[in-house]
Structures are given as C-alpha cells and as structure tokens.
C-alpha cells in the first residue's frame, strides 16, 4: 500500500480491521453464558451497571454482596454507571434493578460487547497509536504500523476482553498513556493516568513498583533541587487524583466510614493463596509442597509478599541506580536542566521494569487469577512490537504471549472459546510472521520455545484423546500449569537480565563517556540496527534530540548487547 501512495490509509485500515476482528469475536459465548444462578464475569459487569445506575453511591459497595457485589475501584463504578445510563436510555430492561439478572438477549449481548469495543477505541487504541508515535518515532512508518497491528491483534487480550468478557484494555490503556507521557517528559500527567489505571482496576498495582521507582529515579536524576520539586509535585498530583477518585465516598458527600466499603471490597485478603489452577509459583509448587496443608494463611500471605518484593527488587534497584549514576554523570557534564526534565535517558528501562514487576506479582503474589498474565503481556508485547525478527526480544515476546494464551486454555475451554482460541493464535502468529522453527538455532530461546510448544501440543492431543482418571479430574489443568509456569519463571529471569544489561549500559555511561571518541560513535551508529539495539532504543524516540543522544547512548548500548 505504501507503493500505491495510500500511506494515510494504513493506520485507519489497521484499526478498522482490528475492530472488525473484535466484533466477530463478540459472536462467541462469554463467561457464565447460560449458567444460572450465578452466571459469570459478563453478568458481574452488567450487574454493576444495574446497581450503579439505580442505587445511591453509598450503597454501591454494599448492595447484595453475595450476587456479584462491586469489588473494583471507583473508576470502574463510574464507567459502569455511564454505560448503565446509556443502556437505560436504549432499553430499560437491560439494566432493570434485580429484574435484569442473567438477561441474555441478543441485543443486550451486543450492547455489552460494544461497550468493550468502544471503551477500547476511546482508551487503549489511542494510547497505542500514541505509543507508536512517541516510543517508536525514530523508526520507519512501516515498522510503527506493524507494531500497531502486532499489539492490536494480541490474542490473549482479544480472548479475555472480547470473548470471556472484561474491560482490561481500559486499565492497560491508561497505564500505557502513563508510559507515553513519561516518554514525552510530562511526568505529572503520566502519574495522573497511572492513578486512573489503578482506580479502574486494582490489578494495575502489579506495575506500581516499576512506575514508582521510575519516577523516584527521575527525581534522583534531576538532582536535589529540581528532583525535590518534582517529587513534591508528583506526591501532590498522586494524592489529589486519589482523592478525586474517591471524592463521592468522602466527606462532605458521605460519612468518612463509607470510604472503607470500597477499600475492603477491593483488597480481599481473607481469601486463600490461590483459588483456581493458575500458572504461578504457588500453584505449580503446590504439587510438591502442599502449601495449604501445613502453612497458615497468614504465614503464606507474608511469604508471598516477601517473595513478590524480592521478585521485583532487581528492577527497582536497576532503575534507582541508573538515576543516581546518570545524575553523577550529568554534574560532570553539566547537561541542561531543561533537557533533563523533558528527556530521561533511562526510559528504555521502564518496559523491562514493568515486565519484571508484573511477572513477579503474577508468579509470587496472593490470589492471582490466570487472567492477570495480561498485565505482564502488555510490556512484553510493546517490546516485541518494535523488535526485528531475529532479535531475542522478538522470540521471547512471542513465546510468552503464546504460552500465556495456552495457560488460559482451561478457562477459555470452560467459556466455550475453543475455536476462538485457535483462530486468534493462528491470526496473530501469521500476521507477525512467526516461525518457531526459524529461531536462532541451538540458542536457549529456541530450546525452550520448542519444548514449550511440543509440550503444549502434546497436552492438547492428550486432552482430546483421553478422559482424565476419576481420581485426578484436574489432571490436565495441573499439567498445563506445570508447562506454563517454568516458561513464565524463565521469562521473569530474562526480563531481569535484560534490565540489568540495559541499566549497566546506561549506568556505565558516566565512566566510559570520556573515552568514547567521535570515531567510535560513528562506527557503532552504522551497526546500530543490526545489533538488535532496537528494543533497547525504545526511549530515544524524540526525533529532534535523536542525533546527540542516540550516538551517545547507543554506542554503549550496542557494546552491551553485542
């Protein structure tokens, strides 16, 4: 299409095609379809529209908690209220209080499906378009468009949001906006977006260590005066946005005790370590350790918190170290304060930190759902979207994505999404041109990819051919967990390794800079693309400043990577 002078058509075309795919996905059944009396996630979301529309705000988090009581933060409630308002305007029966429970008419289903598509069009897709512009601005238009298509057709999110039925794209989109604003230097706006993301779904907490330490590192990088100022501003913006979110639950609008309702609903610590089979450390190791048999819930809670913290610690350390090191370097170098504010050299660390942090939460924290892997998939898909096909980032990103979809197979099967599972995997892998056989031969990533795919296919065949023995009805789910978890663990270690590599390259900048003569810079610039510095270079998008920065950092980065 580029050849035929239709460049301006490509991005709308890509978006239109992906919207079409979403609409067609919407034909599928959803979680809890035709299973009274409780139904599933679909009914929960619809029920929230119903209660937020008809009840006063102080009853939102207390009304009939046994039947899908609201347990997401207030922004979800406000969005539900808005959707409920529209539904009521179109057809009051869809959201009639108590009367509409379990309603499954084709028109109401279409309405619900469309709310997901439209919210995605309003939040996630603009965030992605902005991401392609901001983070990959130095790349060719074609790469940006392909990146957009790669992220838009990501099977896991398609299956969960448009098949199973949830609104994860809104939370992910808001976090992505935060990342975009960090990249453009508008940190306060970014922080506000991240608070909104948290306010939509508490699951965004998985990202909080990475985002928090990034902002802290930025303050450190700016030095005591400017950094201190930014720190105070960030603190104020964050707390004000939280207050804004909870405003209707706070005095003078309602008694102070009201705010406890949402908070106690959002964090249910009274539940167990894990419920369903989920491909994380606890569920996988449970086969051997039988945690629930001998350890108290309280002990497990503490242990899981400890492990989670240890899990994301490397990313925090790397970010903070980069901030301090670069501050030291900038004192010697007297980099303009203005430039420092709008441009952060350690920005490329952010996606890796997000990945490490969300994977450590997924693997080690309390009460994890299989769908939470979506949080880890966003950073890894963003990284892979711009990576060349022969880079490790590309292979890792796809492996994690495919295994994540596989890990959700028991859930998808239960929802009646088997055909969709096949179709979306097929579509995505084909569109991004993935061929596991063609991975770098005899590399670790090829070994683990082939192993994981072989095991996954074998398990599918087994499940198809034989019925599990009566003693182990969950046999296949457990095997699924045992196949998926190692891949996630290795991916987590890989993300730490990448983070350290990139961080070392950046942090080493101070020491090495003086030796880096102009000669060397030009040499490295030529080989920049080939060494796969692409994903690492994600942050150097501002084309205006591209020249100086890139030559400076890329020389070191390229050294590190090669």
């Amino acid at each position: 299409m580029h050849k035929r002078g239709m460049k301006e058509l490509v991005v709308p075309g890509v978006i239109a095609v992906s919207v079409l795919v979403r609409l067609v996905m919407g034909l599928a059944s959803y979680s809890g379809w035709n299973t009274p009396p409780m139904f599933g996630d679909y009914e929960a979301q619809r029920h929230w529209m119903e209660i937020t529309l008809h009840l006063p705000i102080r009853q939102w988090y207390t009304y009939d908690l046994q039947y899908w009581g609201l347990d997401y933060p207030p922004l979800t409630a406000y969005v539900s209220w808005l959707c409920g308002l529209i539904a009521h305007w179109i057809e009051p029966r869809w959201v009639a209080l108590n009367q509409s429970r379990g309603i499954e008419t084709p028109a109401s289903k279409l309405f619900m499906r469309l709310t997901v598509v439209i919210l995605e069009l309003l939040v996630y897709i603009p965030a992605l378009v902005m991401f392609a512009r901001v983070w990959q601005g130095s790349r060719s238009k074609r790469t940006q468009e392909l990146a957009l298509l790669t992220i838009l057709l990501q099977p896991a999110l398609l299956l969960i949001d448009h098949g199973h039925f949830q609104y994860n794209s809104v939370m992910l989109g808001l976090t992505l906006f935060a990342m975009n604003f960090f990249a453009t230097g508008q940190d306060l706006l970014g922080a506000f977006c991240f608070v909104l993301s948290l306010g939509f779904k508490q699951m965004a907490l998985y990202y909080a260590p990475a985002i928090g330490s990034y902002l802290l590192a930025k303050c450190l990088y700016l030095g005591p005066t400017a950094g201190g100022k930014l720190f105070i501003r960030l603190a104020m913006v964050t707390s004000l946005s939280f207050i804004l979110l909870f405003l209707p639950f706070l005095p003078p609008f309602s008694p102070l005790s009201t705010v406890l309702h949402p908070i106690s609903r959002i964090f249910p610590f009274s539940r167990g370590l894990f419920e369903d089979k989920v491909a994380n450390f606890w569920c996988a190791s449970n086969v051997v350790f039988r945690w629930k048999h001998w350890a108290s819930t309280y002990f497990l809670l503490k242990l899981s918190t400890l492990l989670t913290a240890l899990g994301f610690l490397p990313s925090v350390v790397v970010l903070l170290r980069a901030g301090i090191k670069l501050y030291m370097a900038s004192i010697e170098d007297s980099v303009q304060r203005k430039e420092k504010l709008s441009h952060t050299p350690f920005l490329p660390l952010l996606p890796y930190a997000l990945l490490t942090s969300s994977l450590s939460f997924f693997l080690f924290s309390f009460q994890v759902h299989e769908k939470s892997i979506l949080l880890a998939l966003m950073p890894v898909t963003l990284l892979l979207s711009g990576a060349p096909v022969d880079s490790p980032v590309y292979s890792w990103g796809i492996l994690v994505n495919n295994v994540a979809v596989f890990s959700m197979w028991p859930l998808l099967k239960r929802d009646g999404l088997a055909v969709q599972y096949i179709a979306t995997l097929l579509l995505w892998n084909r569109v991004i041109g993935y061929n596991p056989v063609r991975l770098p031969p005899k590399s670790f990533i090829q070994f683990i990819s082939m192993g994981a795919y072989a095991a996954a296919i074998a398990l599918h065949v087994l499940e198809w051919v034989i019925t599990p023995p009566a003693r182990y009805p969950d046999l296949f789910s457990v095997l699924n967990v045992l196949i998926s978890t190692p891949v996630f663990v290795v991916a987590w270690l890989w993300s730490i390794k990448c983070g350290i590599e990139v961080g070392w390259a950046l942090g080493g900048l101070g020491g090495e800079r003086k030796n880096a003569s102009d000669e060397k810079v030009t040499v490295v610039k030529g080989s920049y693309r080939q060494v796969g510095g692409r994903a690492v270079s994600l942050g150097y998008a501002q084309s205006r400043r591209r020249e100086a920065d890139r030559s400076r950092a890329s020389s070191v980065v390229a050294d590190a990577v090669s």
Binding site: M6, G13, L27, R142, L146, L149, V419, Q420, R430, G433
Partner: protein, 547 residues
C-alpha cells in the same frame, strides 16, 4: 490488510511456503498466504454466528444421501427441506457425509431434525471453508500468467474475500464459494485457451447447482463460435465432437442413474418448482421490484383521487400482505412467467449477437456477466443471492477501464447492500456492514487510481456526479433501515393503538432497500451493455491482450 506488510513478506514465515513451493509449482507468495490465513481465522471466528434454515437444509441432505439408497434421494420428505439441487451436489453431500459420520453419527441421522450441537456446526462450517479452497486456487490461477499481476492480485483478493461469500456462505450458510470456484476455474481455462476443459467444467457446475443456467447462453455461443467453428465460420468437427461427447458424458454421470430408474420427471419437478410467484419473499433488487413499487404507488394514487381505472382485487389484497407471498399487480397488467422469459432472452440475445461477432476472452466475460445480469433483472422468482452471478464475473473486469470500474463499484455496492437483509440479528448486521465497507474501501483505493480517466464531455461530468450522489445515498439508506423499525414501534406505542397504519409500513425498509438497490443494478446493466456495444476496438485494456 496484508498488502501492506512487506516486512512480513521477507520474514521467516516463508519457511513453510518454500517447502510447499518445492513440490507445488504454484509459487504462492507470502502475502497470499497472509490473506488466506487471516481470512481463515476470520471465518473460524464466524462459527458461532447466526445460521439460516439453509444450514438445516444441508444437514438434512447429508442425512438423506447417507441413510437412503440413491433411488429414494429425490423422493424423501422426512424433512420439509427436500433435496432440490442436481445430482452432483447430492453426490457431494454423500461424500461429505462419510466424514460427518466419523465426527458425529447424529449428524447423518435422518430423523434428527434441527440438530444443532456444536459438532455439526463446526463440521458443516469447516466444510464450507475447505471447499472454498477451490475458489482460492482459481483466483491464484488468475494471477499466474496474468497480463498485469499486481492488478490481478487485487482483483483475486477481492474475489476470495468477497462480502457476498462471507454473508451468504460463512454466516447464512451455503456453498457458493465452492461453486463459484468451479465457475472461475472454467473461466480461467477459457482465458488460458483450454476451451474444452472450460466447457466440461461448466457442465459439471450446472450439475452442481442449476441456477448457473442463467449463464449458459453465453457459454453456448462462446464455445460454439470460438471452439467449434473456425474464425472463417467453418465447422471444426473434431472440436465439436469432443466437446459434445464430454458434455454428454458429464450429464450421463450426473443424470444417468436417475434415467435408468425412470426418475427424471420427479427430479425435474424438484429442481424447477414452477408454482412460485414473480418476486421472492424479499424482493430481489431487479426490474420487477421496481415495477411492483410503481404499481403500489399507482394504487395509492388511484385510491386517493378516485380515478376511473380498473383495479385487480387480488392485487389489492397482495399489497396488504406486504412482501410475503406472491405478488399480483393491482393496476398494471398482470405478468406470466413466459413474459419474463421472453424479456430475459431478448436482452440476452442482444449481448450474444455481439459475442458471436467478437468471441474474445474479454468479450466472453462481459457477455457472461450480462447474461447473468439479464436473468437476474428480468427472471421469474429470482432470489437476492443470485446477484452473485453478476458480481463475481463482473469483478474480473473491474480494472479494465474507468467505465468498467465504475460499473463494478455501483453494482457491487448495490448488490452487496441488497444482501444485507439476509441477516437480521444485531451483531451479524453490524459485522456484515463493517466487513463490506472495509472490503469496498480496500478494493476501491488501489484500483480507482489505476483506471482514472479524465471525463471527456459535460455529459460525462453530470453522469459522474449523479452516480456519486447515488452512492452517497447508501449510508443514509442504511441509517433509515436501521432506525426506522425502532422509530415506528415507538410511534405505535405513543399512539396507543396497535395498528395505526404503521404495521403496513413494517416492510418499508425492505422495500426501500430493494428499490434503491435495483436502481443501481439496472443502471449498471445499462452501462455495461452500452460499454460492451460501443467500446472502440482499438482500446488497450489488460484483458484485450488475451484472445
């Protein structure tokens, strides 16, 4: 969507195709695989969509051909959906039933009416996708050896991804992709100069589905003139005999068993039920739809003014029944099937005379399109789905020249829009509109620039503007069709009386669709006839290079 991914084209995804390339001389490119896999994924996602009764029709045929001996196929009445396709299709269903038995024996149980478990849905939908590969290979064949491969690639992709197939085959449920695949193979053979095979394939196709008889006159004249006669007009005995024998052999294989059993009258009565009315339940957008509307308007006018014109009582009652059942004119003179036949044949002969004089490939494709088009516009009891008989061959001409391209755009938009009422469930309606819009955008954008010609006179400018206005009317028609039912029911509730003239208007959206689309299709027909007869012989279009 896949045309814009040369990065993919160079990516390792070609590993698998290079292996295939080795022992298939097809040389399928990465972008072609992309289209294939992407469309397959989309069709898989359509598995749970709405299915018309045609789904049960075909399931019943699987059961009939599997459980009953061949002598009872055309007599069975267990289900109301009796077998009414020619024998090759019955053999085809017999073949499919072998695998259906392996998938789920209940599929082929004759008394298991309206069986709709996911096994039968998945199986039947999968057979549609698989048999559509015939179409896929045919359109690939058109790219190979084409005069201008990049343009043909767009046309081929447009054919393979045609919204008509998506709506009628993958949602509504039929096997048109498979059958049009045979038709396109036959046309491809004609292009490649293999006219004997072309004729045989068309005979085979006729024995799959007899609706293709609409196109038969063009085939007859073309093969007779260019294959059985020499350019000078002398008879080529060898060619003639081989073609005649081959076609007879095809019919013997198909009808032979039934001739031996003496069942031909029964078979014909199933294939050609002549007891039906002029218009199908939902008026196909043809000449008769327009005429019926004129009749309705006249009737209203007469009732209001009290003019002294005889009114047919049956016709009046026919109006109040809306669009369901037979149509009888109330004011205009009544019409018999023979009239429709005569008019159709008259229009076809006009094109066929030209084809006789100029039996080139391009002329053949044009005449073929026009033959289907006359049958569609003037035939008796035409189904809206038959519009594909016009749109598919017409697509092959799309990139010939501005005049052809414009005809193609008008006919495609009107024809595809006229298929929309087939699906009435909300989600499927949105999908069909979204898909068709995307399709026309992706076909229009690259082709329109290639064929653009500067209008020669003021008349062309006016025509161009009018056509654009007509095309711009479709979004408004869509809006009207979507919003009108809700508006009418709200008005009815407000008035408190259930039947205040609004129930009569229940069919207004269907009627509006039918009339508006028929205008475009009739205009397109006139355009193509004009182009066909008056196009200068020196014109250089890509297909002109193929004799």
């Amino acid at each position: 969507m896949t045309k814009d991914q040369p990065e993919i084209a160079n990516s390792p995804s070609t590993g698998f195709s290079s292996a295939i390339r080795h022992w298939f001389s097809w040389n399928i490119e990465a972008s072609e695989w992309d289209i294939f896999w992407a469309s397959t994924a989309l069709k898989l996602l359509l598995f749970p969509s709405y299915r018309s009764t045609d789904f049960e029709v075909h399931r019943n045929w699987l059961a009939i051909t599997h459980t009953l001996p061949i002598s009872k196929w055309y007599f069975d009445t267990t289900s109301e959906w009796t077998l009414d396709y020619p024998p090759f299709f019955a053999y085809f269903e017999k073949f499919l039933s072998i695998f259906a038995l392996l998938v789920d024996p209940k599929i082929v149980d004759l008394n298991n009416l309206n069986y709709d478990s996911w096994t039968v849905v998945a199986y039947q939908r999968a057979t549609v996708i698989l048999t559509e590969l015939v179409l896929g290979t045919a359109v690939l064949g058109f790219i190979r050896g084409s005069v201008e491969p990049p343009v043909q690639r767009i046309i081929s992709a447009a054919l393979f991804l045609h919204p008509g197939f998506l709506i009628v085959d993958h949602i509504h449920f039929q096997y048109n992709g498979f059958m049009f695949g045979i038709l396109l193979w036959s046309i491809l053979m004609a292009r490649n100069g293999n006219k004997l095979v072309s004729g045989i394939l068309f005979a085979v196709l006729l024995n799959f589905k007899h609706i293709y008889i609409y196109l038969a006159p063009a085939y007859f004249i073309y093969l007779l003139r260019s294959f059985c006669l020499s350019p000078a007009g002398r008879i080529q005995t060898k060619n003639f005999l081989s073609l005649a024998n081959a076609v007879i052999a095809v019919f013997v294989v198909s009808l032979g068993p039934f001739v031996l059993m003496g069942q031909i009258p029964q078979l014909l009565s199933r294939l050609f039920p002549f007891t039906r009315g002029l218009n199908h339940a939902y008026w196909a957008p043809n000449f008769w739809a327009l005429l019926t509307t004129v009749d309705r308007v006249l009737l209203r006018y007469i009732k209001q003014t009290g003019a002294d014109i005889p009114i047919n009582k049956f016709g009046v009652s026919s109006t109040s029944r809306g669009l369901v059942g037979d149509t009888v004119f109330s004011v205009l003179p009544d019409l018999k099937p023979i009239h429709a036949l005569v008019i159709t044949v008259a229009w076809q002969s006009i094109c066929l005379i030209k084809l006789w004089r100029n039996p080139t490939y391009k002329s053949f494709v044009t005449a073929l399109t026009l033959c289907g088009w006359s049958s569609f516009l003037f035939g008796w009891h035409v189904h809206e789905k038959a519009v594909l008989l016009v749109l598919i061959p017409l697509s092959l001409l799309a990139a010939e020249r501005q005049a052809y391209f414009r005809t193609f755009v008008i006919a495609s938009v009107a024809g595809i829009f006229s298929l929309f009422p087939l699906l009435f469930t909300p989600t499927e309606s949105i999908i069909e509109v979204a898909y068709s819009t995307l399709w026309i955008a992706f076909v229009y954008a690259p082709l329109s620039r290639r064929v653009y010609e500067y209008p020669k006179s003021i008349a062309y400018v006016i025509m161009d503007v009018l056509e654009k206005v007509y095309l711009a009317g479709f979004p408004f028609l869509l809006l009207f069709v979507t919003l009108f039912p809700g508006w009418a029911s709200r008005r009815r509730q407000d008035n408190g009386e259930p039947d205040a003239g609004y129930s009569k208007l229940e069919f207004l959206p269907l009627m509006a669709t039918s009339v508006y689309c028929s205008i475009g299709l009739i205009w397109g027909f006139c355009r193509l006839i004009f182009i066909y007869h008056y196009e200068e012989t020196t014109y250089q279009g890509q297909l002109n290079e193929i004799r």
